[in-house]
């Protein structure tokens, strides 16, 4: 992929995350912080489909942004074609793994398997 496309995704995911994390924080402020961590309330979040979908979106945006950012740091740290290939594929794998693991949590809690 062209580097400019990757960086457009990087900036886009950052902007998207700012918007969605703001909603996430506002939702947390709808009740006392300690209440928001109560078991029933946490599970209720996942049962509310629009909010669960938003959490999934935040997960995807920040996984993509975070691991691409890490990829950039590592590419600037050391150079070499094998190393760079490893970093490029490694960060894609890490993104996919984190998204899969997080989605599993969101899905299981949403379906009441917990």
């Amino acid at each position: 992929m062209r580097e400019s496309i990757i960086m457009k995704i990087h900036y886009g995911t950052a902007l998207g995350a700012v918007a969605l994390v703001a909603v996430h924080i506002l939702m947390r402020m709808s009740q006392k912080f300690s209440d928001s961590l109560q078991y029933q309330n946490v599970i209720a979040n996942y049962h509310f489909l629009p909010y669960a979908l938003m959490l999934e979106a935040v997960l995807i945006l920040l996984s993509v942004h975070g691991f691409n950012g890490l990829r950039v740091i590592l590419l600037e740290l050391k150079q070499g074609s094998t190393y760079e290939k490893m970093i490029n594929y490694g960060s894609l794998a890490a993104m996919a793994a984190l998204i899969a693991y997080g989605s599993r949590t969101i899905l299981m809690a949403g379906m009441g398997v917990s």
Binding site: L75, K78, Q79, E84
Partner: protein, 257 residues
């Protein structure tokens, strides 16, 4: 009519006392990597005047104290770009830095960062020149302005303004030596090359924009700049490579055609 009077003898002797040479300590980093010789400082006592430049102090050492000091220079007037080095920790041209403006009696000169050292203060410019050439630093277009029918290409003062400052680059490499990305990313094009890419992209006579944008849109290209801005801070010719990089990004992000 203005009358220019010759200085009276008393004034002349006054001027002499204020221009008494001062003595400073010049510390020169010496190394010879090809012989496995690590960096160590040689210290010299140098008489200096108000106007003595760092390059003149180094040449004083070569003439009178130790001729083996390796230093590259040519024009002595900030136009050839040969004498870049770290002076009291800051990248600068030795011929364009007066000892008196450094406000210190100890002057330390070291080779520029982010370049391989050849010996002492002389560094290797191969990569800078290669990256500069990679930017196709010339006007690209099919037609030529020298045919009998064609006239010269019109360029208004506004057209010129768009790239003029970037054409002042003397390839001294100070910007690259100040760049934090260059410190670890040996494949990064660097501020010098990117500023030159912009210089030609912004020239209304040039048709090579797409070529150049493709070259800089690489995993070690323009996106590895994180806007530290040190390049623009140290440039002795008033070039602002950090701005050139942001303007080039405008094209790549679709803000500019």
């Amino acid at each position: 009519m203005a009358v220019v009077a010759a200085p009276k003898p008393s004034e002349e002797s006054n001027a002499k006392t204020t221009n008494q040479p001062n003595t400073i300590t010049l510390r020169i980093a010496r190394s010879n990597p090809s012989e496995g010789q690590e960096s160590a400082f040689s210290e010299f006592q140098i008489p200096v005047q108000k106007w003595t430049t760092v390059l003149e102090a180094i040449l004083y050492v070569k003439q009178n104290l130790d001729h083996s000091v390796a230093v590259r220079y040519s024009c002595r007037q900030a136009s050839c770009g040969s004498c870049g080095m770290k002076i009291n920790g800051r990248p600068a041209l030795a011929c364009y830095t007066k000892i008196s403006e450094l406000n210190s009696n100890i002057i330390t000169v070291e080779p520029m960062n982010n370049f391989p050292i050849i010996r002492d203060l002389a560094v290797d410019f191969k990569q800078l020149i290669a990256n500069h050439k990679k930017m196709k630093p010339f006007i690209i277009r099919e037609d030529s302005e020298v045919t009998s029918e064609s006239k010269e290409f019109i360029q208004t003062p506004q057209d010129l303004e768009k790239f003029l400052q970037f054409s002042y680059c003397i390839k001294c490499g100070l910007c690259n030596s100040a760049c934090p990305t260059m410190a670890t990313d040996t494949s990064f094009i660097g501020p010098q090359g990117l500023a030159q890419a912009y210089r030609y992209v912004a020239d209304n006579r040039d048709k090579g924009k797409d070529d150049r944008l493709k070259i800089i849109d690489d995993s070690h290209g323009i996106w590895r700049c994180h806007f530290a801005g040190s390049c623009s801070h140290v440039c002795p010719k008033g070039v602002d490579p950090a701005m050139a990089i942001q303007l080039l990004r405008g094209y790549l992000l679709g803000f500019k055609k």
